[in-house]
Symmetry: D5
Subunit: 92 residues, 10 copies
Amino acid sequence: MLFLVRMDVQVPQHLPADTFEAIKAREKAYAEDLQRQGKWQALYRVVGEYANYSVFDVESNDELHALLSALPLFPYMKLHVTPLAKHPSSIR
Amino acid sequence: MLFLVRMDVQVPQHLPADTFEAIKAREKAYAEDLQRQGKWQALYRVVGEYANYSVFDVESNDELHALLSALPLFPYMKLHVTPLAKHPSSIR
Amino acid sequence: MLFLVRMDVQVPQHLPADTFEAIKAREKAYAEDLQRQGKWQALYRVVGEYANYSVFDVESNDELHALLSALPLFPYMKLHVTPLAKHPSSIR
Amino acid sequence: MLFLVRMDVQVPQHLPADTFEAIKAREKAYAEDLQRQGKWQALYRVVGEYANYSVFDVESNDELHALLSALPLFPYMKLHVTPLAKHPSSIR
Amino acid sequence: MLFLVRMDVQVPQHLPADTFEAIKAREKAYAEDLQRQGKWQALYRVVGEYANYSVFDVESNDELHALLSALPLFPYMKLHVTPLAKHPSSIR
Amino acid sequence: MLFLVRMDVQVPQHLPADTFEAIKAREKAYAEDLQRQGKWQALYRVVGEYANYSVFDVESNDELHALLSALPLFPYMKLHVTPLAKHPSSIR
Amino acid sequence: MLFLVRMDVQVPQHLPADTFEAIKAREKAYAEDLQRQGKWQALYRVVGEYANYSVFDVESNDELHALLSALPLFPYMKLHVTPLAKHPSSIR
Amino acid sequence: MLFLVRMDVQVPQHLPADTFEAIKAREKAYAEDLQRQGKWQALYRVVGEYANYSVFDVESNDELHALLSALPLFPYMKLHVTPLAKHPSSIR
Amino acid sequence: MLFLVRMDVQVPQHLPADTFEAIKAREKAYAEDLQRQGKWQALYRVVGEYANYSVFDVESNDELHALLSALPLFPYMKLHVTPLAKHPSSIR
Amino acid sequence: MLFLVRMDVQVPQHLPADTFEAIKAREKAYAEDLQRQGKWQALYRVVGEYANYSVFDVESNDELHALLSALPLFPYMKLHVTPLAKHPSSIR
């Protein structure tokens, strides 16, 4: 079951730079792991913005919320989720 | 080069139903053809809406505009294009 | 799997009144049937508006889109879907 | 009398983490108590967001405002209230 | 129980002028009657717009929706309802 | 001459709690005084929000701005003013 | 007492061209007359739009609404009114 | 003096196709002529939309409004004008 | 050449009160000087808001930007500029 | 391949003034260098705002994102990118 997710990172002003770098390193490892599992199907940078569009493939809404709220950057991001369905003209 | 495109269809009130069905049939053929060519990489229905999110893979902005403005439904859709770049955490 | 759906009816100006009444009668029968099946879990009127908030309980995004796009009023409504997850403080 | 309420939590940056955890614990107890009383009829997490949609069943606008403004998280949330009426197609 | 209601009239282009005048005459009679009953507590014109702000005093959400959806101009208006509570600094 | 005013309080994060309580006490006294003078004709709490809708009855725009900008909470509020006129269907 | 008014003309599609020209001629005469009376103090075209910003000088909200709703183009315009007060740094 | 102008064409539904084609031909000739005069300095298509961003170089606001309101497509477009100034980091 | 400018002051929370008062005093002197020169043609307070609408009369976009960016309050304001042209119904 | 980019600078409140000046000096050098290379084709100040509209000429979305995210002011700006295509009426 697919979902489009837009994530906008809002860099916290008061966080020490190395703390934020450590969070970003954990985020990268977490994202790569979910991609290898096939749950985070696509991950694109929005040109010119500290933001991404992603496609997730999960079993349920609950699983998606669990995955997203465990993102190391979750407290510093604004997320918006759009549920997707099969399109009748899609050949996949 | 990837682009995310959202398309919202606005069904024309004054168009005869069979004319509109004919346009939709041409749209479907056109969409399937571009998917087979690898230019229309992904096509998802937005749940509950007469709308889709699509990913296009093209050589240039001009090619993308040519593809989109040739959509049989183009006169009856509102489109919004977001340019995408490689994300540093993407494993693809 | 639960989804909140807001539906805003936009009465078509050119439709004969009895045609529209017939569509609304089919909509009512359809809504009551889905409620009896447990798929349309809740249906509330928004005070002062020709609109409703509804809760659907379905197996997948595809099932939800199939149910919504089959609404007799679908061509005359603007829909917005919000996926819901279990809340940690919910006692249900 | 039913109301749909959307609550968006805005985590205060300057609050010590354990103070905020204590507030959330009180919020959880408060929410569970109101649910047991039947006043907080439904409580759903919005997928991917630190937000919920809730349905309240109260005697009056004044009672609803009293319940909401007593939420331990009230100073850290943005709330929006929509009054609901019985829908003619609801079978409840 | 008080509610603030904003009503914006959208004059239908296809309605004959005398039909619309007849609807407005019924609207006026209906509004005056509800004011005399004390249910439509205040009715103000928004300067420069074909719109009003009104205060209603009703027993329930259901009563308010019944009153509003029976407005002769209801099919030609956009309404927005805001529930009001007693303010601690109000001396009334 | 009547005006509808919406006021949204934005609690300052850096203000000591007792300083803010003192400002609110002065606000309450000021609001009660203007109500007794008949200038602040109505004051309603918006359900679920730290906000109010008010009706002012003043001689001029300048008088209204003087009254509003002297509110003790003025530096901590977002205000929006809508001028009102007599409605032809009002029986007052 | 001054008010800033923005007016956006929405040309009616179904009106015969000469009917609309006649309305515009009456609008021009009306506007010039109010300017000569000193009530319509300033009238500016918004560059690139069929819209204007105007300053009115009137005795009351009721007078302003009477003047605006008598505009020959009133049924074909969207108006927005902002009440103005004397600025402490204005030297007028 | 430079201005950025965004133009969105809204194709009129009731206009015969050949009438609209004739207007577009006049628009093209007009646009090419103003470009040759150096007044319409740049003209770009927005990818995926029936819209353009343009840069105009004119002597005054009045000249710009005269040029824009004389566009054959002016009655069928929504325009937005942004005045531009020399940027201190521009090397031109 | 006329421009309408809306300025919204956003009082900086961290600035000492007397520093801000000194900036406001310089702003007032600057505004009065430009008014005397005829460049700042009109200056109105928006009722209920820490904001103004102003009309500037300048030779060019560059001159306007130079005047606005030299405002002592410039770093603490949000500005929006609308270019104005002569209106055909203006009698000035 | 052309892109229109709007950049809005949001001056960080906590940054020491000379640190910010140093960043701006590096930004200026960077902008001038990219202009000389022909990649940053045009750079305009938005009148009255700490913002610019720019036109970039790049080989790909990835190159554009690399150029933009390397801007010394990138962490302090909000950017929005619009892909541009050749316009059929452009004579360039």
